[in-house]
């Protein structure tokens, strides 16, 4: 589904990704864990070109992602036009939800399919309502994001990602901005989604979730992958045990 070889990226002189290789299979749920500054989010954001790598090859669903590395690390305008296909295949859920505050919940869900993909609104509305129902928010369709709790906003953001009928969804620390009591309602939705066979790449600090839901765990440190494999194996890795001991005081 997603293939990455030799991915390298620096900010100024600091190397955040050092020659990273990664392969993600269809239907696989992969959790990327590791300390802050390990390059987890950067790796994730390179997959859909929110960050432009300095070097390395990326394949998505059999297509190579051609990009032009530049000093800014963001896509140029022409590449943005050229790579819209990539973003329509790979959806994303952000730490800060990033719902559009000037649109209702329903309109947030419709932007992708109707505006970006050009689908008919009348066709998209029932699908949007169905997604909202699946996360228990059908009564919030006409609310504005500011009227929702963080957990509700993130559930809407997951629906927005699903509306793209993506081949895979990237989650960038989806519960890090939530109050502790709201974390589980989002994790539950994600676990449910994982069982449907959706390909998911999740950067997270939720160790328990990674252990229980992920098919494979990737442990990153200092811009490289230190360990990867089935959760039970990776969680035995000495470096990860050091890291985990810092997490649980």
């Amino acid at each position: 589904m997603i293939g990455i070889t030799g991915l390298t990226k620096s900010y100024n002189s600091r190397q955040v990704l050092k020659d990273v290789d990664l392969r993600i299979l269809p239907g696989e749920v992969v959790a990327i864990i590791g300390p802050s500054g390990a390059g987890k989010s950067t790796l994730l954001r390179c997959i859909n070109m929110l960050e432009v790598p300095d070097a390395g090859r990326i394949h998505v669903d059999g297509r190579q992602v051609f990009y032009t590395p530049n000093g800014r690390g963001k896509l140029g305008v022409l590449d943005q036009f050229r790579l819209t296909w990539l973003r329509r295949e790979i959806a994303m859920v952000f730490q800060q939800f990033n719902l559009w505050p000037h649109r209702t919940v329903l309109d947030n869900l419709l932007e992708g399919p109707v505006i970006a993909k050009g689908q008919k609104r009348a066709d998209a509305v029932p699908r949007a309502m169905e997604k909202l129902r699946s996360v228990g928010l059908e009564d919030k369709a006409d609310a504005y994001p500011a009227d929702l709790s963080g957990g509700q906003q993130q559930r809407v953001a997951i629906c927005r990602a699903l509306m793209m009928d993506p081949k895979a969804i990237l989650f960038d620390e989806p519960t890090s901005a939530l109050d502790p009591e709201l974390v589980n309602e989002v994790l539950d939705i994600m676990a449910k989604l994982a069982r449907t066979g959706m390909t998911m790449v999740i950067v997270t600090h939720e160790m328990k979730f990674a252990r229980e839901v992920a098919d494979r765990v990737i442990f990153m440190e200092h811009g490289g992958i230190v360990a990867e494999g089935p959760p039970d194996e990776v969680f035995q890795h000495p470096r990860l045990r050091v890291y985990a001991s810092h997490l649980s005081h």
């Binding site: 929110l50 305008v77 943005q80 994303m92 559009w100 932007e111 992708g112 793209m164």
Partner: protein
């Protein structure tokens, strides 16, 4: 015998004042449109990655923001710049547009810079192209942020437009001057003119309130406000 008949100036000259007010509205509206377009261009140049463009835009703002409007008016009307002879209306329009574009560009630049980067990334993440991103996210969010200073500047433009009477544009101010020159009733004439200016500026203020209220409600700020007030109590 010469008796003063209150209201006579207003009654007799009202159609002329009205024509003057329409001229004022026309030139200000046209100048707002031109200055907004030009201001937007300058703002994007100022945010450009090309250093030379940034410097050019900064120089433009420095130059026109630092010069009196009156000076620009005289320049375009009296010096026939670049061999162009123009009527007073055109000269006034150009001077006002160039002058106000420097202010608008700063307002627009601040607005564009304040658009939430995460909301733009969300637009990227659903596969919007740069054009769609601008129309669906940058513009609506930017307009909400820019409305108060933007309308404020429009009101300033409307009032400053009185200066174009000096280069003989038959605006509300000039019609007023003509009226009291022939009637010698300065007080009443200026009173009527003042009332008409206030009507025009009030309309702009109402427009601002309407836009702010509409956008504020849509963004759910009323609830946020309630919560903010609640958490203080």
């Amino acid at each position: 015998m010469n008796t003063y008949d209150p209201g006579s100036v207003a009654a007799e000259y009202f159609p002329i004042f009205l024509a003057g007010a329409l001229t004022t509205l026309g030139i200000v509206a046209a100048a707002i449109v031109c200055a907004t377009v030009l201001g937007y261009v300058i703002a994007t140049l100022r945010l450009s990655r090309v250093r030379a463009l940034r410097i050019f835009a900064a120089a433009y703002v420095w130059f026109f923001r630092g010069l009196p409007l009156m000076l620009s008016l005289f320049f375009f009307y009296y010096t026939k710049p670049f061999g162009l002879t123009m009527d007073a209306f055109t000269a006034g329009l150009i001077a006002m547009s160039l002058n106000s574009a420097s202010f608008f560009s700063e307002i627009i630049r601040a607005g564009l810079k304040s658009v939430n980067a995460g909301h733009l990334e969300a637009a990227d993440s659903v596969g919007m192209n740069p054009l769609q991103k601008f129309v669906r996210v940058t513009a609506p969010e930017g307009i909400r942020l820019m409305t108060p200073p933007y309308i404020n500047n429009c009101i300033i433009m409307l009032k400053e437009s009185a200066q174009i009477s000096v280069i003989t544009v038959p605006d509300l101010m000039l019609q007023g001057q003509k009226a009291y020159n022939s009637t010698y009733n300065v007080m009443e004439t200026l009173g009527v003119v003042a009332a008409m200016y206030l009507v025009m500026t009030s309309l702009l203020m109402v427009l601002q309130l309407v836009i702010e209220k509409k956008m504020g409600r849509k963004m759910g700020t009323t609830k946020q406000l309630r919560e903010a007030v609640g958490s203080m109590a």
